[in-house]
Symmetry: C2
Subunit: 197 residues, 2 copies
Amino acid sequence: MPAEQRQKQLLGVARKLFLKKGYRGTTVEEIVRKAHLTKGAFYYHFNSKEDILLAIFKETSERFYRAFEAVSKPGARPNDFLMTLLSIHKASNLAESRNMVDIWTQGTRIPKIHRYLEKRHQQGIEMFTDCLDRSYGRTRKERRELAIFTFSFYEGLAVRKARWPKVVDIESQLKLFSRLVETLRQGETAKGKSHHN
Amino acid sequence: MPAEQRQKQLLGVARKLFLKKGYRGTTVEEIVRKAHLTKGAFYYHFNSKEDILLAIFKETSERFYRAFEAVSKPGARPNDFLMTLLSIHKASNLAESRNMVDIWTQGTRIPKIHRYLEKRHQQGIEMFTDCLDRSYGRTRKERRELAIFTFSFYEGLAVRKARWPKVVDIESQLKLFSRLVETLRQGETAKGKSHHN
DNA sequence: CTGTTAATACCGACCGGATGGTATGTATAA
DNA sequence: TTATACATACCATCCGGTCGGTATTAACAG
């Protein structure tokens, strides 16, 4: 009944429906029906359908960002970031959703949301780059390239897993990624073996 | 005026519009307007809007598949496949389109299209795996994992490039990918240096 | 304690524009 | 005359958003 609580409830319901049926595939009518309310209530709490989408994006994006901050300690490894991305991905119920990408696309079509996400994305990359252990690349440019590589791979893995769940095995892919990336390390051959685990 | 020609024309127009504005963002009315026709004509040549989407998918998918066949020679390298994927991607005008993923998602929602694409996707992976040079992995399982890795990275790269064009530099990412993957090769250290370029 | 006012939270009928699809008619060519 | 390749008008439905109204509660005045 209090506004804040209702908004959270509606956010939760909308989020579930969007993930299940996509943004356009979900009607405002459905959202309020599932929340045992009516459209009047919805438009009392939100200005538009896009508005609630933005709210959902901010929520999720913030979750990613905070988790990212937690891993961002000096000497971090690409694998740490990738695993963080994947764990948040899973915890946010994005994992089972084939519509995740659809919602993302819808989001980036809306200027306000697009700007917000771009900013967050940039911050993520820079944070990643700055914390990455020096042994993964001599120059900052090299390490930044590796950051983007990791992000790209995460995204591709997520998209592919959502689309063909049976084909992709996340665990194996993670191992392969780790194995490949670890070969980048220089001057760590001596102490390297005792370095991970 | 002849049916076959008209269908190709409509396919071309629809394809452009879908890439520009997304599937749902494009109306049948727009398609026929741009082709200087009317809806009557459209529904004479196609059964539905989904029908023309399926046709477009088959067209594109076939292009990918044939290009893949061309690269699939024994001893192939992951980089060859990745470059092929990216070149077709570009040649099919997917590169500039932020809606590519949207269309894909829309496509996989339609059972008929989903089945078709899944089959093609599987074939691609198996073909890739079978041709991959033995030095990239001892067991077939290992090489298959690498194939999926390559596919995933391609997809992630494409998605990311479409979304944040300024951030992602395809060339650098390709180089990094190549460098990483080449470290997998075993027993090629002696003659390895003269092997690529 | 009572009456008035006002803000909050919500209902439900309705609007209006968009849009996929259809039905009917028609010009042209074989 | 018959099939092809369209045009035109129209339908049915969906859906985001609006708007007038209302129940509830709280604050405050008399």
